[in-house]
């Protein structure tokens, strides 16, 4: 008896919540690669102020979103941490070719929560630490880049037993931030206030450049907010925010023609 009454309340509650959520009409659901979390939040706020449209953000590993989008996840825009997944989505008819472009170029850093350390190639070669965190290299491009760096320096085999994998670059950050791992490869944009701890911006020669591409998904073709978001992402306002957050944007223009 009680159970039935409870379930009626529950169902009523669910409908209420769903109803409230649908009040706003122009909303774009954006899947955001975890490294871009803070930047995307800032962008979404400016986007709302400028256009009145709402960008609802979800954060996770690019590989995870890629698999979910192929299975019909309800996103209209995908901001990946690489360029191969958005291109593949276009090839396989999930994304729109004209609306696929690089929105940021990622910078990989080796980060520690301790201040005043001088981190560099030698840090990795010496291996004087017990754990180093990277993102899952198969699912997250920054994880793949981290592996490339260690391989380029010829220390991958030695460091392998010390590597712990975060499920996304956000979890990797958190492993280092809780000090469970002394070091971690994360995105420059993730360092809190861009001043906490010590870091080394890994020279670009050690890893393939991280082109982060955005793509408008087929499901968003007729969504005003989604289309507007893609335009906004290329605007100089957005570009300034992205640059300020720790990404390169200068070579984007030439790349996107």
């Amino acid at each position: 008896m009680i159970k039935r009454r409870q379930s009626i309340f529950l169902i009523a509650g669910v409908f209420l919540v769903l109803g409230l959520r649908n009040v706003r009409a122009d909303t774009a659901h954006v899947a955001v690669a975890a490294n871009f979390t803070d930047t995307a939040r800032e962008l979404a706020q400016v986007f709302r102020n400028n256009t009145g449209h709402e960008a609802v953000l979800s954060f996770g590993a690019s590989g995870q979103f890629y698999a979910q989008i192929r299975e019909g996840a309800p996103f209209e825009v995908f901001l990946s941490a690489d360029d191969s997944r958005p291109k593949k989505l276009v090839d396989d008819n999930f994304g729109i070719a004209d609306e696929e472009f690089t929105y940021a170029v990622g910078k990989l850093v080796l980060w520690s929560r301790k201040s005043g350390l001088s981190l560099n190639e030698e840090t990795l070669k010496k291996g004087d630490f017990s754990k180093i965190a990277i993102a899952n290299p198969v699912a997250a491009p920054y994880g793949a880049a981290a592996v490339e760096v260690m391989k380029a320096l010829g220390v991958y085999a030695e460091l392998l037993p010390k590597i712990v994998q975060g499920n996304s670059i956000a979890q990797t950050f958190q492993f280092v931030n809780t000090d469970n791992a002394e070091l971690g490869f994360i995105a420059l944009s993730q360092i809190p206030n861009r001043k906490e701890g010590s870091w080394w911006i890994v020279p670009a020669k050690y890893y393939k450049v991280i082109h982060q591409d955005a793509v408008l998904l087929k499901s968003g073709a007729k969504n005003n907010a989604a289309r507007a978001f893609m335009v906004f992402l290329r605007s100089s306002v957005a570009r300034t925010i992205i640059q300020k957050s720790g990404y390169a944007t200068d070579e984007i223009a030439s790349r996107n023609r």
């Binding site: 590597i163 975060g166 000090d179 469970n180 791992a181």
Partner: protein, 229 residues
């Protein structure tokens, strides 16, 4: 190729079984006195202890995972314990997963054993005492045998639940092969990275396993209630 395939699949399975086995054994060892106390004691605050034991049933694994990550880390007690053998943290390690699993699976082991002890009632133990059995003897000769279905249920549930653990391990594990990359994490990983053939194999195996476990439980329940009548 085939060999790579199978070892890739088998290692998480072995790890999960080892974790579940160790967790269940430890929980039976430490959980039995606790269950006994919960069943027999008359102190007013025992239900508060019972509540603490049962809390993982309600708490999201993320709550447990979050606290464990801090507690196991260099600034928590886990870090001091790891320091005994020169480590920094118990996170990202098999012992860390065992600690997490002990907390997470405890209610599944303690509750059935406590219920079984309570079902015995006072009478058989009073009779044993009249026959000059020591408390130790009456526990082993009277209480434990009568509660064996409770032990069996607890062991099976504890084992199965540890095998199915995901959220806690995801948060404190770090996905390390042979140490923290358990079955559920491996499946998640395969799904996330679009390796669906492997995901299918492991997932189908888990479905079959879950069926067997629940089916076995039902048979045991039926036999026990049949035997009582």
């Amino acid at each position: 190729m085939n060999q790579v395939f199978s070892s890739e699949l088998w290692r998480p399975i072995e790890l999960s079984i080892a974790l579940a086995f160790i967790t269940t054994a430890l929980l039976l060892f430490f959980g039995t006195p606790l269950a006994w106390w919960l069943a027999r004691s008359n102190v007013w605050w025992k239900e508060a202890v019972a509540t603490l034991v049962a809390m993982p049933l309600v708490l999201p694994p993320t709550v447990l995972g979050f606290y464990l990550l801090i507690a196991l880390g260099p600034n928590g007690p886990g870090g001091s314990i790891a320091g005994l053998w020169g480590g920094r943290t118990l996170a990202f390690s098999f012992p860390g997963l065992v600690i997490g699993s002990l907390l997470y699976s405890m209610p599944f082991v303690v509750q059935p054993i406590r219920n079984a002890f309570e079902a015995i009632g006072d009478r058989p133990l009073e009779v044993a005492a009249t026959l000059r059995a020591t408390p130790w003897q009456s526990f082993w000769r009277v209480a434990a045998p009568s509660a064996r279905s409770g032990f069996l249920t607890g062991a099976i549930l504890g084992f199965a639940h540890t095998l199915g653990e995901f959220g806690v391990v995801l948060m404190i594990g770090g996905n390390i092969p042979d140490q923290t990359r358990v079955l559920s994490i491996a499946i998640f990983d395969y799904v996330e990275t679009s390796q669906w053939a492997l995901a299918h194999m492991l997932a189908a195996g888990m479905v079959v396993f879950a069926f067997i476990v629940i089916f076995t439980m039902m048979i045991i329940e039926k036999n026990v209630s049949g035997a009582r009548e």
